[in-house]
Subunit: 347 residues, 2 copies
DNA sequence: CTCGATCTAACAATCGTTTGAAAAACGTAT
DNA sequence: ATACGTTTTTCAAACGATTGTTAGATCGAG
């Protein structure tokens, strides 16, 4: 038995379909009495306009899509995702929009983009950029990229990952550390850090810049680079790898807090004292960073704002055709208790 | 300039719209050569079937809606929301479905339900139940309620809030506590605990049951009930209120971890030692519960599973018409370090 | 060369709305 | 009664696909 539709109501009320439509969307074009009658009958029969059919006609869905590079379960584990969502949610609520989460469909981002019935996309940290961009373009709806390398003509919201990373590295260097390990999030680039892209690339760039200011560079001896999974285990394993080497670093800089926390835990169980024996810096400022002992020195980014600003821009693009702007939000170093000057060097 | 559509492709390829449609959805009904030709042209012209129009025809959107009782920003702050999402995400990924977050639209859940182009709804902790249920019914798509008082004939997934609460209270009672304060999440019911509904009601019920087993009941003297906001501040204020009274409780049982954490912090700043001077129990087992000092004894629920099972059921309801089942998932008491026997009573 | 079987592809209806343009209804002034 | 300006209401054409049914092409066999 099919859902009750506009024709049924029109028939029952003895008016045309048009009249019923007007009763809902443009009551001023009908007499008050007719509107009331139609609405009453609709209420009685439990009718409401079909959202799909309405979208078909109006060309609007009232929904924006959040395009995710990975399956939902992996994304939501990301500790700053909720904050980002919060920012999006604020703007959505204000504009009366719904939010559709759009992970890859059967492994394909392309399929996901093509299938999503939305008025516009927010993309979060896309990797395979060029291909995806083409699909987005031909999909024909506006989109705003977040956390992707900015491209001319494509609206983009980013945070100053490079600047934050640079601050973090500078902080450590300024305290006198010269034996430093960088723990990068594993990317499949096998340590070829010049090929890093996106967030990863920006952070790496920041680290390198600070090193350069001190006349240093990654040399596999004093300044080392290791890749690991962005998990506690990844951090723990990396610590162990490093501690097997002859010369230990006096500071470890991790590209994510969760890695840094793994390092601290592993260091603790190895009997070391953080920061006296080993300084540790993270990135992201997740909740746990301030709760762990010692509290983690890290780089914070305005996740909520990022979502908010990106969504605001997208809404503008959907409603009118605003200009595709780039915007970069600040990051800042949060100094807590996991960093101090290195011990005097023992000969 | 209108989006390119099926007709354009048909024209260009010199075939009918039907053929183009088949090339995408049912290639076996066309010769291999034709399919290839159509697909190539579609590729060249950047065509893909419009998702809205497709939904219109097929009656399917490929999307399920998560109906939320509050605006997005408030919901995502809820620490177990991500886990719940994770469970939903797993099933969605597996079934090739997208997820639409559906908060109240301009303050109205009804409007939100009516407007959402989805194949089914998951509802999370709905309060105004009867009204919403009616709207959902007439919306004509299947739905599964999560964390709502179960109703005959409506598929529902719940966790054993009552059982968990009962265990928590029993635990405290069995250690000898007889001066106990219950901190309930404020609900507008002004302490009339018999009117609590949903999760709140179930937890309260559990506390009361355990008390009854010991021949006790809420009496405003030994066993007290206080309502507060489910925030750290709420917990802190409640502690202060309680400590102004002549007879202090030896144990505080909070309906949420975040309240319990507020209590612990306030107790610490008041110079008390938890648990020696005051035992504290929470509910939810959020991440912070295990990180705070002392680690919080609390009741854990399988949030991820809850999402997973609910979604699985919804998918079944959408695909065939399965039976509307009720299911209750277990909760369990996690004993950590915030509870111990009360001090010997001083006369 | 014709007939029938087997593939291919096309026709046309359908999904449930919205909306610009046109018709009908109505009241009022001439 | 007629003409005219407002309201009120209806017509019918989109919107962009899918799909059951049917017509036409192709091919081999008789």
């Amino acid at each position: 038995m099919p859902r009750i539709n506009i024709k049924d109501i029109a028939q029952k009320a003895g008016v045309s379909k048009t009249a019923v439509s007007f009763a809902f969307n443009n009551p001023s074009r009908l007499s008050e009495a007719t509107v009331q009658q139609i609405l009453t009958i609709a209420e009685e029969m439990g009718y409401s306009p079909d959202p799909v059919a309405r979208s078909m006609s109006t060309g609007r869905t009232g929904t924006i899509g959040l395009l995710l590079p990975q399956p939902l379960p992996e994304i939501v584990r990301n500790p700053f995702f909720p904050e980002f969502l919060e920012g999006i949610g604020e703007v959505c609520a204000h504009s009366g929009l719904s939010l559709m989460l759009v992970p890859p469909l059967k492994g394909s981002i392309r399929r996901a983009i093509i299938n999503a019935a939305v008025d516009g996309f927010l993309t979060l940290g896309l990797e395979e950029f060029k291909a995806t961009m083409v699909v987005l373009r031909q999909r024909g709806v506006p989109f705003v990229t977040v956390d992707s390398d900015p491209i001319e003509g494509v609206p983009a919201i980013n945070v100053d990952d490079a600047g934050g990373a640079c601050q973090a590295m500078r902080h450590v260097l300024s305290l006198g550390h010269r034996q430093i390990a960088i723990l990068a999030i594993r990317s499949g680039k096998q340590g070829h850090y010049r090929e890093y892209v996106g967030t990863l690339g920006a952070r790496m760039h920041g680290y390198l810049q600070a090193l350069e200011e001190y006349g240093l560079t990654i040399d596999r001896r004093a300044i080392r680079l290791l890749e690991c999974a962005s998990t506690e285990e990844g951090g723990m394993e990396s610590f162990q790898t490093l501690w097997k080497l002859s010369r230990h670093p006096t500071a470890i800089i991790a590209m994510s807090d969760i890695i840094a926390i793994g390092v601290i835990k592993a260091a603790n169980t190895a009997g070391l004292h953080v920061p006296q024996d080993l300084s540790v810096v993270g990135f992201d400022d997740i909740t746990m960073a301030s709760l762990i002992h010692p509290a983690l020195t890290t780089v914070a980014q305005p996740s909520r704002e990022k979502g908010e600003i990106a969504t605001r821009l997208l809404v503008k693009l959907i409603e009118a055709n605003a200009k595709p702007v780039h915007q970069m939000l600040p990051t800042r170093l949060i100094e807590r208790n996991s960093v101090c000057p290195p011990r005097r060097e023992e000969p």
